[in-house]
């Protein structure tokens, strides 16, 4: 609710003076209604990142080489940030969306629901940039507070708009990667590019055990729920405290059990898994390179036009 209002408010301030006021007003109202409806329909789902893991398994881009996807996404994000051009950012946002939804067959409603999380942070950050404090009313929109004014100027509007587009563009690049590449492939790629062994091993273990931890927590919460452990606020708090404590003890015990099982298989202080060589496919390399060249060309063209 608050977030939807913020969206709408931010939209209003961003385009104040750029759009004719009837259009601006109806746009803001539509945005408010639309975002409320969307949140209502898609609800508030827990375990968001677990559902990403499930979606990834179904992605049609899963078979692409993880190295190409990682380089492609990171390079696109870097170009998007460095170019600082609204058109280029919009192009990146649009094309990444197309790649993910049409290429990877990630459900559109799921993609947009997932985007609301970073979007909220971006909008919150942008509000701070949008308003400047000035002693005199010199902006397009001024709010008097005591002796000074909170004003939205043309410059701050431009800065905010470009920031939104850049941030959003970079996020959609990373979403392409995380919605099409299983975690173990990403970790395998990090190992291949010689990321520190400690980080890589920790990532493997965290990825494996986070699911066990959540499953255990869920079981305990259910068992507590079945005994009215969450009937009111006070009791909920107590239940939560004791189940967290229990979870900690269980985790310790479990980690020693797991260590025993690892030792039984000759674990010797270094975690290593088999990594099969999978060759780069020419079409994948060419497609990624073509897109990146297009972005670079776009950037160069935009700079020529400006300069």
């Amino acid at each position: 609710m608050i977030i939807s209002c913020l969206f709408s408010l931010a939209f209003y301030c961003l385009f104040y003076g750029k759009l004719p006021s009837p259009l601006l007003f109806s746009g803001a109202v539509l945005l408010l209604a639309g975002s409320l409806l969307f949140r209502h329909k898609n609800g508030h789902k827990h375990g968001g990142f677990l559902s990403i893991d499930v979606q990834v398994q179904k992605s049609r881009l899963k078979s692409w080489h993880p190295g190409i996807k990682a380089c492609f996404a990171v390079a696109s994000a870097l170009i998007c940030i460095a170019a600082d051009s609204i058109t280029l950012s919009l192009f990146v946002i649009g094309s990444m969306m197309l790649f993910t939804i049409y290429g990877g067959k990630t459900p559109a409603h799921y993609y947009f629901a997932l985007l609301t999380a970073p979007l909220t942070f971006i909008i919150l950050g942008v509000v701070a940039i949008l308003f400047e404090i000035s002693p005199a009313p010199l902006g397009l929109l001024d709010i008097a507070i005591g002796g000074s004014y909170l004003s939205v100027t043309y410059r701050s509007q431009q800065a905010a708009l470009s920031l939104i587009c850049r941030a959003f563009g970079a996020v959609s690049c990373l979403y392409l990667l995380s919605l099409s590449t299983p975690m173990h492939q990403i970790i395998g790629f990090l190992r291949k590019i010689k990321a520190p062994a400690l980080i890589v091993e920790l990532m493997y273990l965290i990825y494996r055990y986070i699911f066990l931890l959540l499953a255990t927590q869920q079981q305990m919460a259910r068992a507590a729920e079945a005994r009215l452990g969450y009937r009111d606020w006070r009791i909920s708090l107590r239940t939560m405290a004791s189940s967290s404590l229990n979870l900690l003890f269980l985790s310790f015990r479990r980690s020693s059990d797991c260590f025993t099982a690892m030792e039984a298989r000759c674990y010797d202080g270094e975690i290593a898994f088999l990594e099969r060589k999978n060759g780069l496919r020419k079409t994948e390399v060419l497609a990624a390179a073509a897109y990146l060249l297009l972005l670079l060309g776009f950037w160069y063209g935009a700079r020529r036009l400006q300069g």
């Binding site: 493997y204 797991c258 039984a264 298989r265 010797d268 975690i271 290593a272 088999l274």
Partner: protein, 281 residues
């Protein structure tokens, strides 16, 4: 005439000072044996398994493999023992650490420091043997209980052990999973490995085992054929066990239907075949 693989001589082990978890344990495990390990919870079955694999080190007594003494304090001996004696843990989630089935199964052979091609070959073989070939790229948390159990068996097979220890393998399985497990055990038996299964399922032990070890209060109280073990009433009483249903049924057949006293059927099919044969069908 039997090839002795693993042997223990008067082994003692305690988790802390004073109370013995296991004491005076002596036994020999030979090639191609099917052994069920019975006993109530806390009797020492799991401790026994962990001793076999060198995770726990005996306080007293000696450990042998293939006739040679194993010193669990020597790293080389320990690695050899752990490769040759594999444990399939009760809870598959304790054992699985890989993020895909394939990487999980490769963990053991990678620890043996084999070359990559060799590891790949062993992983393929193990996955094939457990019918997991098409699951190789799946993360383990999306597998069912029975599939996870098969993954943990593949884990151990890929290390090519001669002795396999199954810690209560049927505990988390549904009846279909148990059936699959039994046919896998039969397949492993054909490969002449020594198999030890700790279980609470008396009827399974009767059906499957050639030899039964009974643990009670940290001691190996009996080591005999199933026929001998279940004929020993006081022993069953002491260890908190019961007779298999088929054993009881055979006793009533003997009493009322002229069943010969020296034949102990392991399946109902054997009984049916006997009476059909007798009736000349």
């Amino acid at each position: 005439m039997n090839d002795v693989l693993l042997a223990m001589d008067k082994v003692d082990y305690s988790y802390d000072e004073g109370g013995f978890a296991l004491s005076g344990l002596s036994l020999e495990i030979c090639k191609g044996q099917r052994i069920a390990v019975l006993g109530n919870n806390g009797a020492g079955k799991s401790t026994f398994f962990l001793l076999c694999n060198g995770i726990l080190k005996p306080d007293k007594g000696a450990l042998f493999y293939g006739g040679k003494t194993i010193d669990p304090r020597k790293k080389q001996d320990l690695l050899r023992l752990r490769q040759l004696v594999g444990i399939i843990f009760q809870d598959a989630d304790h054992q699985i650490i890989g993020s895909t089935v394939e990487s999980e199964v490769s963990f053991g052979p990678m620890n043996l420091k084999l070359p990559a091609e060799k590891v790949a070959q062993r992983v393929d073989q193990a996955l094939q043997a457990m019918g997991l070939a098409e699951y190789r790229h799946r993360p383990p948390h999306y597998l069912s209980g029975g599939e996870k159990k098969r993954v943990t068996i593949a884990d151990i097979l890929a290390m090519e052990p001669e002795v396999l220890l199954f810690d209560e393998p049927t505990a988390f399985l549904d009846p279909a999973g148990v059936r699959t497990l039994e046919s896998l055990l039969a397949e492993l038996y054909r490969q002449e490995r020594a198999l030890l299964v700790s279980t609470h399922d008396i009827d399974f032990a009767w059906r499957w085992a050639q030899r039964i070890l009974v643990f009670h209060a940290g001691r190996l109280v009996a080591d005999n054929t199933p026929e001998q073990i279940f004929a020993d009433g006081p022993l069953l009483e002491q260890a908190g066990l019961r007779r298999p249903y088929l054993y009881d049924f055979t006793l009533s057949l003997q009493a009322h239907c002229g069943w010969p006293p020296d034949i102990w059927p392991k399946t109902t099919a054997e009984i049916e075949a006997y009476y059909k044969n007798k009736a000349g069908l």
